[in-house]
Symmetry: D2
Subunit: 365 residues, 4 copies
């Protein structure tokens, strides 16, 4: 920690009065001395105000359902989305200083009207089906396990054609863009331009073929052109990694721990400029090494159960539960008796691009 | 602007009670509805809380002098630096949401002890000489017009060997790293490791030869390896641009407006990952086109005078005055009768790297 | 064209004798004047010695079969591969100045021993199955339509476990590396290290999931980590593009012309540093626009038939036929009555990386 | 080395006749077997046909002078340039497989007319002054020690306003572009568009300020925008490195060996896409470590003398002498009793961009 004071004798009362007078003048002129605040502004390592926290899926879902009864969805409010507010962040709806996470809920027959914004967004479907997301006129099904993108400044809306309501996880970089003053927003049509319900999106038909890219669209794109990462592919990739491990070959991250990163096929990089997304599968009993990382992670349990230990505190997490790991908090995962499938998103691309990323494993690599 | 409400009838008292009950439950569970806050969180264009503001050099300098009388410099407080606090930012010492600007003051014989931090820092010398900054053991003179770098995680200190005090502008990305939870800090030696006072730094002898790089240090470096951009070179580059304009050739940014960007010779990019630095010279009577830009700019007048119009409000600026242009505020410069030399720094590299930069000139290109 | 001479009177006989004497002296000192050869060395546009040429599959296959009867495969000769020698290239086995194309033939039970070389290599399987290529110990099946990689400096061998011989197209950058003096070669085991015959390679299990990359292998790789691009995916991608065209959406390169580029999923770029590979599908009657391009293309017809017009000369091409388009020769394709599927490889990445690529469409874009 | 034959018994006369018949058929069909040529095509390491060779400056200069008497310079021949023809390269005017080196000679009052070509070119001035190179209308002085660029597709000419003839070294990638079929050429005006003789070029006034770039020209450029790297800067950079060495600090490549790379200030990379240029200064008695490198180097001695040992053979080199080190030939330098200043250019950027570069130091790092 920073030392609390200069290496000098305490000021006399007269000196203190003079100091007080000077500080008052500074205050009036919108100036502030560094020497009184450096320990707070420039800590020895990240000391986030955000805290580790878990939201239970049952609570989230119940309140989402309740809002479905009480609140219509439409222009103005735009989305029936309930944001997770990190208890350390003074009531702001920020799951972490840079990230937004919310449960969005759409009842049968409802439409979430079209708009676009510079904020990057994704959806992860924890359960259910029957909603189509329409991105720039491309209708994209949403089904259990799917990961969907609506990168910044693409028009998008949602409509539910099923007989059941549907709820899913929304992730955005709203807090980052809010703090950075970079946000733009534009309304689109009030009703969706396309109510088609195809089996697959056009974006997938163009871009979701392994290692193949359409010749008509060359070059690097800032965000992934794949609108939906269908669950069947994610699941197959994870199964393959574990099968390779069983056969004695490389592939898993660590013993019993398979994982993929969702990527932009035009660059091999992250799906969006500010957000990374991954999927982790741990065999029963497997665990990960404790690690400190610059940046914030949010996990949602898809299947199975696990314990995540953050800053020495264990959180039991089950289907649908959401948990946040703030920057530099040591964490590790221990899978439960049936193993665990976890979706994860983070703000790591921001820090990697700015040369600010660091990590540290107390137990070595 | 966002519409204030859903396109629906107002709730009845009974409905409102149910809503209130639901909102109270959400609050207790650390959840918040998007529909009540979207207009604030996701504005149609950036609506910064930071305001355009000017700090007078005479005030800055006078208070710096006063602090030199009352406050010792040493371990703990680390630096006698007085930060500029944007009046819109709730008393935080942030000149803009991402940037720190301060006047640092060092009396004859004083030492600012060594430390290092992940925050990127520079100094711009508005006047005076006699201080040496020591970066990783490389003593670098500070003279009028010089621009000096101490990129993240390099040990650095300052010592004043002159018979006069010296004051200069410090710029850092402290607010950005504070909000992002990326900051690391480490104390170095209490007294400088090197009290040499060479005419030029070793970093300049290696890297400040135009278009030539030392063969022994190949590859791209995250920050510029040049420790000091000496005023004589900056001045010559600006004079050359105006001479080319006089001779009818390309070079200036716009009529009567010469400008250079300080760059990393190992990449051609910005000097540091989060901070851009430029120097502008306007002939008497020259002006720039009004423009909106994503990102925050801070100007300090080096010589001459100008009017900067921000959000339709004019600020008269003279030698040493510091002015901030928050994100997306329309601004332009009009040089005074003797022209104007202005140092400028900004956070634009952050937004360019994340594909969030935009600009708009109402009067065309 | 360059003018044939200086704008000066012809030399007198005495002058010519002096010139001849000087040229003789130069010759002896290993010097040569530019002025006598500039028109040849620096033409107004590329004037390749390589000529457009077609090799019939029936001839290629018949001679490959014959060599299977007469020539054993083993250490020393290494591969039973018959290279295509462009008739313009003075008997060198270069299909184009930079590229090698060959038919490789392996009889039942035969092994092509392991080796590695800096030359980048691929295989395209025009027909048949039953051979496995083993790359660094990863056994990879070869089946009709598959595209396989063995990038530079990876050990590889082949073994045929089928009851039938198998022939395929080999493509390499041998001529480029030969001319550039960059080639390295190392023998591996005489017999394959792995005689496994899995349904799919390990490289595919790790990397051939659309938009998903294994977390354990981050970063950009110089060559694609996918060992086999299975035909089922290529075919599906092309079908999808044509289906999108039928539905009125973007996707095809031009009317009736679907095409994909094989890509490196860790970068989005070409599969190997020197070689680009594509697959084109033209509907019956579809054609492409005439174009000049810097670089050399080689096509092999997979299914159907087409006419390729190169430098105004038509070549009828059918299943298995190989045709080469030298640099800057104008070419276009016209599909036959049943449409055409064509594999294509080229050296374009070399020229794009060195800023030497150009193209020109006489009929506009 | 490759084994000379398959591991099989020699063919019987009957078998040989059948083989001969097959080879004849192949030949007729423009096909050739790999197994008879793989040892040549794919050697264990680069085995260049180019040989190490030295050209004496006195011979070069005398023949350049003689050509000045006998051959006019003008449209058609374009340049009075005498190319160095590596004795191993079959009479081609290639100093190395990829590179052209020539002595260009211009008498007082002469003009070399304007043209442009895709080939990248530079000039290095071994001695003299009085010629201006005009690049896209920018007149650039040529003086002893200067290094000048005319990157691909920029119009350029030369004119000599001095009372003395002048000779210099031209370097281009003519052989590379000739072999690759990438060359374009266009005539410009017969007489120079600009006969100005400024002290410095406009390109230097814009770009040759250390670490400063003109704001009006953002972004990365494929070639360096600096037209002339003036000797005074090169010399100062080398002196500074040796002074740092004397003071005990890092900077030189190895003991007594200072060196700079000429670089593109908009990227930090090489001056042109295909050519690297460096300047080396060795103290008296200093030497470099033996090394093998993929790629070709050409040295010209500027001052002093040295021995360069290539493939175990020593070459004594003095002022103006040119020597070539072909790919993968082991080489090292030993400075003479007065030290040595050497200009060096190479084709290494080609191989680095294509992931084909390798080096090996038998004596360690």
């Amino acid at each position: 920690m920073h030392q609390d004071s200069m290496n000098v004798p305490l000021p006399t009362p007269e000196e203190q009065a003079e100091l007080n007078d000077m500080y008052a003048q500074m205050d009036q002129m919108h100036m502030k001395p560094l020497w009184n605040q450096i320990g707070n502004l420039m800590p020895e390592h990240p000391t986030p105000e955000a805290v580790p926290y878990k939201w239970d899926w049952s609570t989230l879902h119940k309140l989402a359902e309740r809002s479905g009864e009480l609140v219509p969805v439409g222009r103005g409010g735009e989305r029936r989305a309930i944001g997770l507010a990190n208890p350390g962040l003074h009531g702001e709806t920020h799951v972490a200083p840079t990230l937004w996470a919310a449960i969005q809920y759409l009842a049968p027959g409802e439409n979430a009207p079209e708009h676009r914004h510079s904020q990057n967004a994704f959806r992860f479907v924890i359960e259910g089906e029957g909603v189509w997301t329409v991105v720039n006129g491309d209708a994209t099904p949403m089904r259990r396990g799917d990961f969907l993108l609506t990168p910044g400044w693409n028009f998008h809306g949602h409509h539910n054609i099923a007989s059941e309501p549907m709820a899913w996880l929304d992730g955005l970089d709203i807090p980052f863009q809010y703090k950075m003053d970079t946000g733009f927003f534009e309304f689109g049509t009030e009703h969706l331009t396309d109510e088609a319900t195809p089996e697959t999106s056009r974006s997938e038909r163009l871009w979701a073929h392994p290692g193949l890219r359409p010749l008509a669209f060359p070059g690097a794109k800032p965000s992934s052109p794949i609108g939906r990462y269908a669950w069947e592919h994610t699941d197959a990739a994870l199964r393959d990694q574990l099968a390779l491990e069983d056969a004695g070959f490389a592939g898993v991250v660590s013993p019993g721990h398979a994982a993929i990163r969702f990527s932009n096929p035009s660059t091999g990089g992250d799906v969006m400029q500010t957000i990374r997304a991954e999927f982790h599968r741990l065999r029963a009993g497997a665990s990960t090494l404790p690690i400190h990382e610059v940046g914030n992670r949010v996990f949602q349990v898809f299947e199975g159960s696990a314990t995540i230990v953050i800053d020495e505190k264990p959180f039991e997490i089950n289907h649908g539960d959401v948990v946040v790991v703030p920057s530099w908090k040591k964490w590790h995962l221990e899978a439960g008796s049936e193993g665990a499938d976890l979706f994860c998103f983070s703000d790591f691309p921001i820090f990697e691009k700015l040369n600010l990323f660091r990590s540290y494993s107390p137990e070595g690599i």
